[in-house]
Symmetry: C2
Subunit: 394 residues, 2 copies
Amino acid sequence: MFDKKMLDIGYSQSTIRDLYTYGLARKKVIGDDNVYDFSIGNPSIPAPSVVNETLIKLLSEEDSVKIHGYTVSPGNIDVRDSIATYLNKTYNTAVIGKYIFLTCGAAASLAIVTKALVFPNEEVIVFAPHFPEYRTYTEAVGGKLVTVNPDPDFLPDFIDLENKITNKTKIVIYDSPNNPTGAFYTEETIKKMSDILSKKEKEYGHPIYLVSDEPYRELLYGNEKYPFVTNYYCNSIVCYSFSKSLSLPGERIGYILVNPKCEDVEDVYAVICGAASMLGYICAPALFQNMVPYVLGHTSNLEEYKKNKDTLYNALKEIGYDVIYPTGAFYLFMKALEEDAEAFSEVAKKFELLLVPSDPFSYKGYIRIAYCVSYKQIVNSLPAFKKLYDYYKK
Amino acid sequence: MFDKKMLDIGYSQSTIRDLYTYGLARKKVIGDDNVYDFSIGNPSIPAPSVVNETLIKLLSEEDSVKIHGYTVSPGNIDVRDSIATYLNKTYNTAVIGKYIFLTCGAAASLAIVTKALVFPNEEVIVFAPHFPEYRTYTEAVGGKLVTVNPDPDFLPDFIDLENKITNKTKIVIYDSPNNPTGAFYTEETIKKMSDILSKKEKEYGHPIYLVSDEPYRELLYGNEKYPFVTNYYCNSIVCYSFSKSLSLPGERIGYILVNPKCEDVEDVYAVICGAASMLGYICAPALFQNMVPYVLGHTSNLEEYKKNKDTLYNALKEIGYDVIYPTGAFYLFMKALEEDAEAFSEVAKKFELLLVPSDPFSYKGYIRIAYCVSYKQIVNSLPAFKKLYDYYKK
């Protein structure tokens, strides 16, 4: 009667959503402050004031028909040009508004790009541990997800990458800083990856697209310079969302950017437009499109995440946990205290700690801690982390 | 290299978009007031004041994290409950928020429902003339679009409908009032259609879903009572958008409603949730979700469309054109003055009239006039319509 995979996805909220839903119910029983919910990547700090100020100004001053009306499907060209100008200045690159397609957020961008480029039975390479939805979008178009193992720093194992590229490899997706580890791909990493892909493109005689999924691009806590992929690899595509940098995850505004240096760039852009139409994407929400030129370069107050990260990371290390140091994003990746991360996550619940097991990220034995929560929750949760540790070690 | 159909869709703006783009260019040459663009269904009257007032109030008073944050994928349950309450009161029906899924507008709703329910090689029945994108969403999932002929009033030819239902028919889609004719499906029409479908469901032993696409539901100019499909047919699904009633087409907010009386309703709703995930839909834009409870039952000032309609309809009849009387929506469907509607549309351009040929609506020999334009444009265009008529008739 129904497609089994679709039905399964529809019923099984994801592991993450399940934990989140459990947390909401549990809070009703024992009180909001007594559940330490680290399950979901919903930004905990407000949008910068420029967001609401701009929205109110647009709503108050602009013509209703203009501000709420249809734009062309890829989005208002003035908005797209403003993004290109901003990117060129910030990352010293040379992209153009004509090859930007505004979308309803990063999920839409990834679903569209995958639909556009991947034929049934072709392969999509991702780097474990990876954002679980890469699998959904790949399988939705009949493609096959291939995962590359991480090196000890949770960056790509390049030998494994090289071995896993085949004649059927169509796209390679990475996100930096990474969800769930917070690992950051330096310029050196991007260059190495590009070299391997270029060699394989030559070997197989067709493009292998490198897709950079960048919702956490601005969430870097040191002095890292973000290596913008269009500067390193011709057949590259950027998927961006304003969800995390501006604390607007519910508003569904982001973009796809095709590198102007892409082989057959007009065709690549057109097939993305066509895929978007087929998936029911008409234009990105117009009010938020109109907001974009005013907020480029702004972020929420990232110092709050940094404070959370430093406090939690230091405390967990001190307790004795094995935690990956996160360069960016708002996740900590921590080794579970038993082999089975799902079992560990269940035990953690007894201490009111909601931690996401790493299995849906195609990786075993770890848990993800989304530290985009109140500082109070960080501080209050520390005794529970200690008790959880003692439960295993004593 | 690329999927040909997707590439074609990506390159070929639709006929409608092509005309619209031509109009924008032509206006730059001869001035905005001298081009009579009737190509596109972009509402010309502002959103009712309650829309911007509500948005500004939410932005000013509510917590940023709450107002802009993720909701669960199907949307905030309080919002969905408010929609159910409103529908139950307005249409004397018994739907529930639990089976409502908030979407990024009607296009998203239709793409999701089609993906969820139609397997490759199954058939989707629509009524000519019909909204062109029904074909896109059907072919996107490998389905086959089957068109039923209209009767002389541009309502379904029921004998043709009965003949065209086969064992492969999975869904039947109608929109009332109709784009492009403005025809309205009375209670009697819905009942007849339901009877035929029920008989065929029995004959073939499986559900045939009736999908009511309702973006123009509130755009009725007489005293018509809207027959709500859930009251007449169990296996029914409503796709709604706030685009037209509230003049918010760019904002992408609408919903899918599954009739609680649907056979295996839990599965139907779950497969819709699954399809949405696979297509990259996470949640509908949160600010606009939050707006919905405050604007239910409101519309833009429809009197303006009525004035446009009456003036244009009467004038075109007076000139001598053969025009279908539109009960609702904001389109007039008019017989072309030669067999080839595309050729007629080209001739009309010489008189600066941009009229959409009926061919993309799976119907020949007519043109669609979107009268959601300024009243000034209606009045100023009349001499051009007269000249166009004289060109053919004298």
